[in-house]
């Protein structure tokens, strides 16, 4: 097809503003999918995506649309992940496009991720088509939202399309706007091949399938390819496009969006953001913007049943085939036994991985509280990264500890400013800016330690604002901070899996909260068990679990000794499921206690 009739575009939106529903309507209107084949969220293929109503993996689909000008256009729609954990993936998807539909909810208006995605689209130099969605709702205020778009984004209000994806209102207008306003891709078929990988996934039959946008040159079904960042090379097994399933074709030309089955065995060989070229005629310069995946949040994952350790390793290895941002290394905890220290892009990513391990691989897992990656300079000058509190050197050997800081952006109704400021201050946030975007809506920006963000900041933000505030964040920089390691001692013994790194001023209150929680969670033992929180050798909080007083079957069983024995065997089994640390039995929930600590209790 002549590149003049190609249009590549993405849909970006804040979560729940109707991105996936709009995609469904476009597929339906262009006849790509018949109404009969239509299921909700067609492009979200994973169970988890549908359940959570979010997009985790990018998807693409080719549509054929005959416009009002009588021409038939080939439209490539790229559906992007909706969560900030996957911001880099979003940015690569956008880089594969010339335009983007910016969906804004007609009642909610601009939210934090609307803005974050908008910036990403502007960086990628995309033509933007604002769509005010859900105008059929009684609470819709399209005029107000149009004005917001003018004020905040600086796009002319008359360019906005009013739509209801649910009711199918405005679908054709959107397609017309795409055809008229999104520029056709530029690029030359005769240049050396450069194709941008915007997502990849592992397929058991075809190896790694790279989703790509051909920028220059042409990719044929029997070429030998070369990755410009990882330098991996392979024979092409198949090229094609999405309809929305994979449809093989002879080649992909400059400007086109499609896939290539690479035969790579691991997505690591073919990462998002890499440039794919031909081994026989390589390009000299890779496309800009490549960044290897960098995990931000770390946690230990341990099988509840120690025998499952090899299963967990296999499962993680399989998931990594498909997820270059997942990193893990073996971890041996005194308390929890053998497991893996895993790195994730963020909390959602962690949650997704954990759920997939439990669901798809039938594993029963114990996750330690998430931690961030600290950069520690030792007194001997050595610099090390620490993402497991248990690995922090003793205080006397530490010169300084640096922690990651995040830029956060909050959109909120003005009446919640006070409570949000309180929240951010208790989390060591530093105020940067506050802008009224409307009479009653405010955009706040702060710098905040990531460690404060990952505990329950988002839940707190939502609960303090009745769900009205929205949040976005991105990595800012590392900065030295006054941090200490908080140890928990059970019956005088430190329990490594309960250690955490805290800001010095918070160590005491957090220690007290943790000790209180643990007192509730650790069952009474044959002797009194002291639970202490300590920084270095200084105990800052202490509680005692009183000794067990009664555990006996004082009941007449009419000679049914078997029954008595079964009950005892059951009790014995129950104990096996606890982790024995020293001579104290600690139930699994205790290791999660750190997660459920919050300011309210």
């Amino acid at each position: 097809m002549d590149a003049a009739f190609l249009r590549n575009f993405a849909i970006i939106a804040h979560i729940d503003h109707g991105k996936s529903t709009l995609a469904d309507r476009l597929l339906e209107f262009t006849g790509t999918i018949s109404k009969r084949e239509m299921s909700e969220q067609v492009l979200d293929q994973m169970d988890l995506e549908r359940e959570k109503g979010i997009t985790i993996k990018a998807q693409a689909v080719r549509m054929s649309y005959t416009a009002q000008d009588g021409q038939t256009y080939e439209l490539n729609l790229i559906d992007t992940p909706g969560h900030v954990d996957f911001a880099y993936e979003v940015s690569r998807s956008l880089a594969a496009c010339e335009g983007a539909i910016l969906v804004v909810d007609a009642s909610q208006g601009i939210e934090a991720q609307t803005l974050a995605n908008l910036y990403l689209a502007l960086e990628a130099n995309l033509e933007l088509i604002p769509v005010i969605n859900k105008i059929d709702l009684p609470s819709a205020e399209p005029e107000r939202v149009v004005k917001e778009i003018e004020d905040v984004i600086g796009l002319p209000g008359e360019d906005a399309v009013l739509a209801s994806a649910k009711e199918g209102i405005g679908t054709q207008e959107i397609l017309e706007a795409v055809v008229k306003r999104v520029p056709p891709p530029r690029g030359a078929d005769d240049k050396p091949l450069r194709a941008l990988v915007f997502d990849s996934k592992y397929d058991a039959y075809k190896g790694v399938i790279a989703y790509l946008r051909v920028v220059d040159g042409k990719l044929g079904a029997s070429d030998r390819i070369q990755m410009m960042q990882t330098h991996s090379s392979a024979e092409v097994l198949e090229v094609g496009y999405f309809n929305p399933g994979l449809v093989a074709s002879k080649s992909l030309s400059a400007g086109e969006v499609g896939y290539v089955a690479t035969g790579f065995k691991n997505v690591k060989d073919c990462q998002v953001g890499d440039t794919l070229t031909l081994a026989t005629r390589p390009a000299t310069e890779p496309l800009a913007g490549y960044r290897p995946a960098k995990p931000m949040v770390f946690a230990g994952l341990f099988p509840v049943d120690g025998d499952d350790y090899p299963l967990l390793r296999d499962a993680l290895e399989r998931l990594r085939l498909n997820d270059a941002s997942l990193v893990f290394e073996p971890e041996n905890s005194i308390a929890l036994g053998f497991g893996f220290r895993c790195g994730f892009l963020g909390l959602l990513h962690m949650e997704i991985i954990q759920e997939r391990l439990e669901r798809e691989y039938n594993l029963n897992l114990l996750a330690t509280a998430p931690s961030v990656e600290y950069v520690v300079t030792r007194t001997n000058g050595e610099v090390m990264t620490v993402h497991n509190p248990a690995e922090l050197p003793p205080p006397t050997e530490i010169d300084q500890i640096e922690e990651p800081l995040m830029d956060i952006s909050i959109f909120t109704p003005a009446r919640y400013i006070g409570t949000l400021m309180d929240l951010v201050q208790t989390r060591h946030g530093v105020f940067k800016d506050m802008k009224y975007i409307e009479e009653d809506r405010v955009h706040l920006t702060y710098l905040i330690p990531l460690s404060d963000l990952i505990i329950d900041f988002y839940d707190q933000l939502k609960s303090r604002t009745q769900g009205y505030a929205s949040l976005d964040y991105s990595f800012a920089r590392y900065e030295a901070a006054d941090l200490v390691k908080l140890d928990i001692l059970v019956n005088g013994q430190p329990v490594d899996a309960l250690s955490l790194i805290a800001h010095k001023d918070e160590a005491a209150p957090r220690g007290r909260m943790l000790v209180d929680r643990l007192k509730e969670l650790i069952p009474r033992q044959l002797f009194e068990v002291p639970i202490q929180a300590a920084v270095g050798s200084k105990v800052i909080a202490r509680e005692n679990v009183k000794a067990l007083r009664k555990n006996v079957l004082a009941k007449c069983y009419g000679g049914d000794i078997t029954r008595k024995r079964k009950l005892l065997e059951k009790q014995k089994e129950g104990k096996k499921r606890m982790k024995r640390v020293g001579n104290v039995e600690i139930p699994q929930e205790a290791f999660m206690a750190v997660l459920t600590l919050n300011d309210d209790n």
Partner: protein, 435 residues
């Protein structure tokens, strides 16, 4: 203040736990349990094999039970063909006091025919205080029943009603007086503590009224919320909150102190008695000695097997009739006619069970008797597994005996669980016998 009667500790222990010398005779005789599964109504906490609204089946049930006693006696006879010695008979339930004296008579008659019943055998009958008229008590005593065990449960009117008991506090006292008048000189009262809403004060009051009556024996059981009972569903729904372990421990410790002061000796975790009135039938259980349980759902331990009978009444009756018709009385058959579950106890487990039930006795386990029974010492078998509970003084050694300490009595399960073999040679569940 009453000084508790000083007794020769070793002598008492020998009576209760047995000695190496008496072992052979103890293992060669049995205790007989006869289950009477009928009740007027079911109590809310009860998960025993009992049935309300089935009183009309008493006659055919008793007939089947009498036949089964005969069959069991034949199968359990000694190798020389003479009947096996029986030392105690226990009518348990359910509500055995719902049987007519004639029915009790027919069962005792069958027992005397089938077994060599000791002249001085302890013959106990469980009774509900709401079912004891004077005439019935006289008749039972005349038949040879020499021990009465009454399910009093509480003297608190509200708690009795809450439990679903059919009797009032006053009826306990009336029935007790009537039993004395009928000539019963060994009477037990059962009580339940740690009931929802029960305070230490109301428990203490129940205990005082019990002591005032002067029974020879007291059994105090803490309420256990059993699956399948109305109580269980109430607790799950959250409408009833069971007493916590601390409250239960307080009540138990109060009972220990108070009953000792009143001259009752505690001889087992749940049992107290005046000297010489310890329940010999239950001592068979705690000694891990053979007993034969007959009747619907009854349990036996004989010939190295634990086995249990069919629970539903109709099924029990038809299975017994079938067994009697088949007439197989060879000695290698288990001595019961309606067996539903049968489990062979391997030596390792038998030792664990002997230790587990024996440690329930205050006297504890005789080390010389244990060694005589198994050819290995208690210490050889268990010391390693019990090191930590010994260290925190839940158990102690006193002369020939190993026993729970006073502190350990409330934590018995911690000790018992450690006695059980780790990877059971034990089958997962008792095997079901076809039929």
């Amino acid at each position: 203040m009453n000084v508790p009667v000083e007794r020769d500790v070793e002598r008492v222990a020998a009576e209760q736990s047995g000695t190496a010398e008496s072992l052979a005779a103890d293992l060669a005789s049995i205790s007989l349990y006869l289950h009477v599964p009928f009740c007027h109504t079911r109590c809310h906490y009860c998960d025993f094999n009992t049935y309300a609204g089935m009183l009309g089946h008493r006659e055919s049930y008793v007939a089947a039970l009498a036949q089964e006693i005969q069959l069991a006696g034949m199968r359990a006879r000694q190798s020389n063909g003479s009947p096996r010695r029986c030392r105690t008979v226990f009518f348990g339930g359910g509500t055995p006091s719902l049987l007519s004296p004639e029915q009790v008579d027919s069962l005792l008659h069958a027992t005397r025919q089938a077994f060599a019943l000791d002249d001085a055998a302890e013959i106990t009958l469980e009774a509900n205080p709401g079912t004891l008229e004077k005439g019935r008590l006289d008749a039972l005593r005349a038949l040879g029943v020499n021990r009465l065990s009454m399910g009093a449960q509480s003297f608190d009117r509200d708690l009795l009603r809450w439990m679903g008991r059919i009797h009032s506090p006053e009826e306990i006292e009336t029935a007790f007086a009537a039993a004395r008048k009928a000539g019963f000189t060994s009477i037990n009262l059962d009580f339940i503590f740690a009931l929802p809403g029960q305070s230490l004060a109301t428990w203490a009051e129940t205990l005082e009224r019990a002591i005032d009556l002067g029974p020879e024996h007291l059994s105090l059981y803490s309420l256990i919320v059993e699956e399948g009972t109305p109580l269980f569903s109430w607790v799950r729904e959250g409408t009833v909150h069971p007493a916590d372990d601390d409250a239960a421990a307080d009540m138990y410790e109060h009972a220990m102190t108070r009953l000792a002061a009143a001259g009752y000796g505690q001889y087992e975790i749940s049992n107290w008695a005046r000297a010489g009135h310890e329940c010999r039938h239950n001592l068979t259980y705690w000694g891990n000695l053979p007993y034969i349980g007959l009747g619907a759902g009854a349990h036996s331990y004989f010939g190295g097997h634990r086995f249990a009978e069919e629970r539903p009444i109709a099924r029990y009756i038809s299975r017994v009739r079938q067994s009697v018709a088949e007439g197989n009385t060879t000695a290698d058959m288990l001595p019961a006619g309606a067996i539903a579950e049968d489990e062979a106890i391997p030596p390792e487990l038998e030792m664990a069970e002997t230790a587990m039930v024996g440690l329930r006795l205050n006297a504890g386990i005789s080390r010389s008797r244990f060694a005589a029974r198994y050819g290995r010492t208690f210490e050889q078998v268990f010391d390693e597994r019990l090191a930590d509970v010994r260290e925190v003084r839940l158990i102690e050694t006193a002369g020939d005996y190993i026993r729970l300490t006073e502190h350990g009595r409330l934590l018995g399960n911690e000790v018992f669980a450690r006695l059980l073999p780790d990877s059971p040679e034990v089958p997962e569940a008792p095997t079901r016998v076809a039929g």
